[in-house]
Symmetry: C2
């Protein structure tokens, strides 16, 4: 492809709306253009790189035995009602009506459609296992689309769904996908970290996320410095090292109400009373499944409500409003405490054995001190509820956890029978009994993966494409396109490379060399070949890898073979 005949509109300046480097580079290198918030057009170079990622995904899915299908983006509301997710997914799903006033949605994912298909088409144990996948456009009504393709309203996903005879067989399908994902991201040139993850609106039993580590990542995760433990912050556990806030000498005293005028926050109270924040028992009033409850964490920790939801086995929970708090505690907001409350009390494991604690007194402007949680309050249950943070103890070994930022590029779920039961997706087993299929689901953000590659692979001058996903492996720069010898040698080299299966982008523009070299670095083609008078005088061309600082002279006669070798092709 000739640069002069395609569309590669490189820019010197960063686009104003781009916050992260990969987004800036995608626009500056002429890979994408913004149509509206969260909506992008792929220009020729961007689309070529996207297709490379897609093809890697497709090959590895096929290799893992998954079967490609293609499901509609437009879906009737009824199918989402059957799983109950029309309400759970809520506002993030685009909704519309057709001219007969039937409700439709734009699919943010396809569990419902594929399970309905499996329910209709898979009848017998002989037809299992099956894993179906598709590479399809998805839609999400993001509150705040940002970061280019990272959080877009329209994006491309590879989603896969496995159907198995039972749980053990489902584990094997999960494992096959897990391994395929590992290969996919490796082949894309990405360094990923696999973390334990929350299952969220997807439901299901267990899941892993594939994270590209990057400062700009939207996801927090922790990893152990010593062992292989790693988890999304939403999911992460810790070993409990807290051992009650008081020590032996301070325990045992009876609780005592103290006047704490206008002190509501942990900081205000600890400052006023001259105690440590970790002595406080933070008491949060929640409404869980429609009924009020109190949730307790130590004053120096945050509650992780995803973990709360999982511990209590319900997604239906939210902080209570002021009116509920006042009704439950008998006091204004800011003075809640566990002592004497007549609602279920759920406490974080870190509060086990907590003595000499400080809590709200359920009375305006008063707190309790010398609280011994187990003695003074009726804790319904202890769970792991606190948000994990840098420095916490690893739950698997003696190591310490550290926090990282990551971009979620893949997610694998063990779904179990949640959807098969909603859609009556059953097979007849060897004995003729109807049995629900056990499912897994597996997603890769294809457009997001493309951008993640750039987030990981760039330098100050631009993108540094890995060969596997580069739009072209080779950029042939003509120093003076009007020079007949230059043009002729370029044409011959391009033809030789083409025969060897190497696609070439030919910079034949009438631009200054400086502009061309800047653009070459910006668009980041892995191998740059310069054909100009100076090298031709030595019967050579200049070959430079994007990752190297200096070019090397390669004799004209060897150039095609040499470059083909660099591309790993031929």
């Amino acid at each position: 492809m000739r640069w002069s005949e395609t569309l590669i509109p490189t820019l010197r300046d960063d686009p104003q709306d781009a916050e992260i480097l990969s987004h800036k580079l995608m626009v500056r290198a002429g890979l994408i253009r913004r149509l509206a918030g969260g909506l992008y057009t792929f220009l020729p170079l961007g689309l070529r790189a996207l297709r490379k990622v897609e093809q890697i995904v497709r090959e590895e899915m096929d290799r893992a035995g998954a079967i490609e299908v293609l499901m509609p983006a437009l879906q009737p509301r009824e199918i989402w009602d059957r799983s109950g997710r029309y309400d759970v997914i809520g506002e993030v799903m685009f909704k519309l009506r057709d001219r007969q006033d039937r409700e439709l949605v734009l699919g943010p994912t396809h569990e419902e459609i594929i399970t309905d298909l499996a329910a209709n088409e898979i009848k017998s144990y002989r037809q299992l296992p099956r894993t179906f996948y598709q590479i399809q456009t998805k839609f999400r009504d993001e509150i705040r689309p940002r970061f280019g393709l990272m959080r877009a309203k329209e994006f491309i996903m590879k989603d896969a769904y496995s159907f198995d005879l039972g749980w053990e067989e489902a584990d094997a399908s999960y494992q096959a996908m897990y391994e395929a994902y590992t290969r996919i991201f490796q082949r894309c040139g990405l360094t990923t970290r696999v973390v334990e993850a929350d299952t969220g609106a997807m439901g299901g039993k267990w899941s892993h996320e594939f994270m590209v580590l990057a400062e700009a990542g939207e996801d927090g995760l922790v990893e152990c410095e010593a062992c292989s433990y790693a988890a999304n912050l939403e999911r992460a556990e810790r070993a409990i090292t807290e051992n009650g806030a008081g020590d032996e000498t301070t325990g045992g005293e009876t609780t005592c109400e103290v006047h704490t005028p206008d002190c509501r926050s942990v900081q205000e109270v600890s400052q006023f009373l001259g105690c440590r924040p970790d002595q406080l028992i933070k008491t949060l009033i929640y409404v869980i499944d429609g009924r009020p409850a109190a949730v307790l964490v130590r004053g120096d920790r945050e509650l992780n409500d995803k973990k709360l939801a999982r511990a209590l086995g319900t997604p239906d929970l939210a902080l209570a409003g002021d009116d509920v708090i006042e009704r439950v505690t008998g006091a204004p907001v800011g003075f809640a405490g566990p002592v004497g409350l007549d609602v279920p009390l759920y406490a974080d494991n870190g509060l086990k054995g907590h003595r000499d604690g400080v809590t709200g007194a359920n009375r305006e402007n008063y707190h309790l001190v010398h609280v011994d949680l187990d003695r003074d309050a009726a804790v319904t249950a202890y769970h792991d509820l606190a948000l994990v943070r840098e420095g916490d103890a690893c739950p698997r070994c003696d190591g310490t956890l550290r926090e990282r930022r990551g971009i979620e590029v893949g997610h694998v779920f063990k779904l179990g029978t949640k959807y098969s039961e909603s859609f009556d997706a059953c097979y007849l087993d060897v004995k003729g009994r109807r049995t629900p299929m056990v499912m897994g689901c597996y997603g890769i953000g294809v457009t997001r993966t493309l951008q993640a590659v750039i987030e990981q692979c760039h330098d100050d001058n631009g993108i540094v494409w890995p060969l596997s996903v580069a739009p072209y492996p080779v950029l042939l720069v003509l120093m003076d396109p009007d020079d007949a010898a230059v043009a002729e040698h370029a044409a011959r080299l391009q033809a030789d490379l083409s025969r060897a299966g190497v696609d070439v982008l030919l910079d034949d523009r009438n631009e200054r060399p400086g502009v061309k070299f800047k653009d070459a670095d910006l668009v980041g083609i892995p191998i740059r070949v310069v054909i100009g008078e100076r090298a031709l005088a030595k019967k050579s061309v200049e070959v430079k890898a994007r990752t190297e600082a200096k070019p090397e002279l390669v004799p004209l006669g060897d150039a095609a073979v040499h470059i083909t070798g660099l591309c790993g092709a031929g």
Copy 2:
């Protein structure tokens, strides 16, 4: 791929909602499944065939120098307001709102998006010409989705857009696409007829449709029996052979009002008066650009309102309501006539020189006879307004037109500067003057093309895929998959074919041979190879083309080469 490990759910019976054969076959052969009206899931075989069509389209677009991009399906309303098409396209466009209450549409086409892109990125004559294309999902809120993929709510299109310096250059781009289309449909194994077509909501100056001739086609077209003239019925012209209804002996009499109680239709009036229908002048009251007008055609002809719109240069026209008709004619509906009307009169060319005519008298229960149109009425203009029909004279030669039915699979338009002007898509010419780019647009219904192939290529037993778009070129049927010799020879043959680049579908099911042969015919793989004990005893396999009645015995040692040769590969 093994049949036992994929999903090919063939059916013995026709689906109840399928009206045309290709739709029935797509469902019965397990290519697609219906999710809801106009929404289909592609199963593995259907998707493979679809990808083959896509790839042919892509190769020919690339060969013609078009550049692939990918634009969003979700689009802000504002961009459709800029071209004025938000209102013109109207209800067929799906509309929705995001959570910030911004209006979005699902793109039924992408002229607006690409022109906006070109306006931003193309600045100079040096960047022209450019033709961009994409293969992308489109959405249409069809009143009545039907015929499977033929008229679906969600479908895949290849759309392309050319930008040129001027009209002559645009003609060359149009011609390149026209030729690419011809090759594409040929390669898909389709026989198409190129017809002149109406430009409709697309606007523009000129267009051709590529029609697959088929009884089940939704489009009417005419073609000349003698020359190459062919046109969509919406567009078709005819040579005028009418020469006034009256002959020399009957002309010249003065008009006369006759009582025609309750006679309104052409049939009623001609029967009552004992005259020929072609003597009548049908008078239709229209509202054109907000003002009433009368449109006249001979009693035996129908008005073509697309031709009326084109002749008058406005899309804004519709039959008038009863109140307008009564106000304009002074009579109830059914008695309108051109004599004495005080509105513009547009008459079909077939009425030129019409004498001894019969028309409504603009008075209840009265008609006029002996009307000489030019003498008695003030015709504003004569145009070609009548719908052409079988037996009309060709407008290009002495031949006769015949009517056919077709499926529109491709459409090429000369758009001119309609969109460039709306979006200020201008370039600086050699002298630095801002000049609007001249555009063309070019569509192929990719999913529709796939189904059109089946509509043209089938027999009583099922699909007869052309090699070029067959999901697999070769079906290897194992008579007894549990027989070790059969399995071993099949594996070896499959490996040999795979090395030669021939994809094989392996029917390894434990089904009776009759079932397998029926399915083989139904799914229509071009080359069927049967491996069974009987042929193996002769050290041979049975090879049968889907188009042939009888198999031939091919020695095992020659099988791979023989079959590869049949596939045109290797």
